[in-house]
């Protein structure tokens, strides 16, 4: 019995296509994406309301969720990491930003069942 894992990668919208393509090429097709807003380690950005100012520090991100078998977990993670590291996604190539912005985050958590509604066959 294989165990399932849920990979949640929180990245920029621009990175999603690269992730998608590299996973597809490696045969991992199933995938769900969520529109989210996120804040990592970087500081805040000031927003304004007409003539007054306030700080908001959430930026639009995309969460890519992929459920995989445990045996391929590391492979899939490394594919994601690699496809996110293209130079055009470097958040600060010219080292001008005051904020150390990172390239995204991946969380892994356990999944106990995956059920396909069509067949209602349970894969444990």
């Amino acid at each position: 019995m294989t165990t399932l894992k849920k990979i949640e990668a929180i990245v920029l919208e621009e990175q999603v296509d690269a992730i998608k393509q590299s996973l597809e090429a490696a045969g991992y097709v199933g995938m769900t994406v969520f529109p989210v807003k996120g804040r990592g380690s970087e500081g805040g950005i000031d927003l304004r309301w007409r003539a007054t100012t306030y700080t908001v520090d959430f930026l639009p991100k995309v969460l890519v969720m992929i459920v995989v078998n445990e045996d391929v977990l590391n492979h899939v993670i490394s594919l994601i990491v690699r496809s996110c590291q293209a130079p055009e996604f470097d958040p600060d190539p010219d080292h001008r930003s005051e904020h150390a912005q990172s390239w995204g985050k991946i969380f892994v958590s356990p999944v106990e069942q995956a059920i396909s509604i069509r067949t209602a066959l349970q894969r444990r």
Binding site: R48, A51, T53
Partner: protein, 406 residues
């Protein structure tokens, strides 16, 4: 009658018609998503309710045969006697009905402007009563005084080309009054104001600018040089005010999109009373100063912690006040022989008259709005319950959501 003039009044009435829903879009973008429809609906409701009020008796009160320089009588009830023939007192070259139609749009937009003061918490059913009373008790008399044959401010010589006093001061001051009397939104001042869609606000601002060409240009009641002058001035003042706000926000932080949209509207407000009396460079000065005034009034309003939620007082009341006074400074009879010269053209008297009409508008609008709010509140609360506010007015007042169920 002149077909060119009629054609222009038809077009400018159409343009001004568009402005009231545009106020709804402009305001709608600024509130939280759960109150978006409700906010647009407030303006849309003004359009439908005041149309009927105006046709039935509002127009007669405002422009009907004068009673004691204070109000029109009801002899034009249901537009009896208001027909295709021109009323030469008001506009000699267009049908009387055309004048009525154009003025209707002014009567409609004024209560819609006020709604920015109590969005996100006003009870819809009471609101309908509020605008009916407000239009009847505040707007109609005020319009009579300034524009109606026999009105006492008109007789005094007060100048208000397209409604600075009648429209912007009254609505802005009414908003201030309502914001002071009604409960604030829950959590006001403790959480960030979160415009749900600046895009929508921009769209509203765009349509407002577009419609304002009819608002100010149509107030010439003719397709003549004065109409063109008014529109040139309107456009220039709006642009100058928007640039001013862009710079103010840019120096403070960053050039704000919301700020540029607000600045443009504020400039349009400021030039409204003056546009048919001044030259183009003074028009740009009027716009610029209007933007500065409103910009700092917004910050002042925040300091005072008054929940005039969308700054109707700062943007309409104060910029309108400035515009009315500025008319007393910059008006010149070379632009409009039917007007008067202002202070800078050698006639300090006009400034005094303008000052009087401003004070009258403030006092009247504030006092009567307080009365209406108190009266309505005694009878049926003007704001929703805390739970309804939390759920949002779209669901609690209208049973609907702006966007689909997921």
């Amino acid at each position: 009658m002149n077909t060119g003039d009629i054609s222009w009044i038809l077009c400018s009435s159409s343009l001004v018609m568009l402005m009231t829903p545009a106020v709804g879009l402009f305001y709608g973008g600024m509130v939280r998503k759960k109150n978006l429809l409700s906010t647009i609906m407030l303006s849309f409701t003004a359009l439908v309710v005041i149309t009927v009020q105006w046709v039935l008796f509002g127009y007669s009160l405002a422009f009907g045969p004068d009673v004691g320089h204070l109000i029109g009588d009801l002899s034009w009830f249901g537009l009896r006697g208001v027909g295709v023939a021109p009323n030469t007192d008001y506009a000699a070259t267009i049908p009387h009905l055309g004048y009525m139609l154009f003025q209707m749009k002014f009567a409609i937009i004024t209560p819609a402007l006020i709604t920015g003061a109590f969005v996100e918490r006003v009870r819809f059913s009471t609101y309908v009563l509020f605008i009916l009373l407000w239009a009847t008790l505040i707007y109609d008399p005020m319009a009579h005084w300034v524009w109606g044959m026999g009105g006492w401010l008109r007789n005094l010589g007060a100048l208000d080309f397209a409604g600075g006093t009648v429209i912007h001061i009254t609505s802005g001051v009414a908003a201030l009054c309502a914001a002071l009397l009604l409960p604030q939104r829950r959590g006001f001042g403790k959480r960030p104001e979160d415009p749900n869609s600046i895009t929508l606000t921009l769209l509203g601002a765009i349509l407002l600018w577009f419609g304002w060409f009819g608002f100010n240009g149509g107030s010439a009641y003719a397709a003549d040089g004065l109409a063109i002058q008014a529109i040139v001035n309107t456009n220039a003042a709006a642009a100058a005010a928007a640039i001013t706000w862009m710079l103010l926000s840019g120096f403070n932080h960053r050039a704000s999109v919301m700020g540029v949209a607000t600045g443009a509207v504020v400039g349009l407000v400021a030039i409204t009373p003056a546009c048919g009396y001044v030259e183009v460079v003074p028009a740009m000065i009027i716009g610029t100063v209007g933007a500065v005034v409103s910009y700092y009034c917004i910050q002042f309003r925040h300091k005072l912690k008054v929940d005039d939620s969308l700054d109707v007082w700062a943007c309409h009341g104060m910029s309108g006040t400035w515009g009315a006074l500025a008319t007393g400074l910059f008006a010149t009879t070379t632009i409009n022989p039917a007007g008067a010269n202002g202070l800078f053209y050698g006639n300090p008297g006009l400034l005094w008259i303008q000052f009087v009409s401003v004070v009258v508008a403030w006092v009247w609008a504030f006092g009567m709005t307080a009365l209406i709010c108190k009266g309505l509140n005694a009878f049926s609360r003007m704001t929703v319950s805390a739970h309804e506010e939390l759920v949002g007015l779209d669901l609690s007042q209208h049973g609907e959501e702006a966007a689909g169920s997921i």
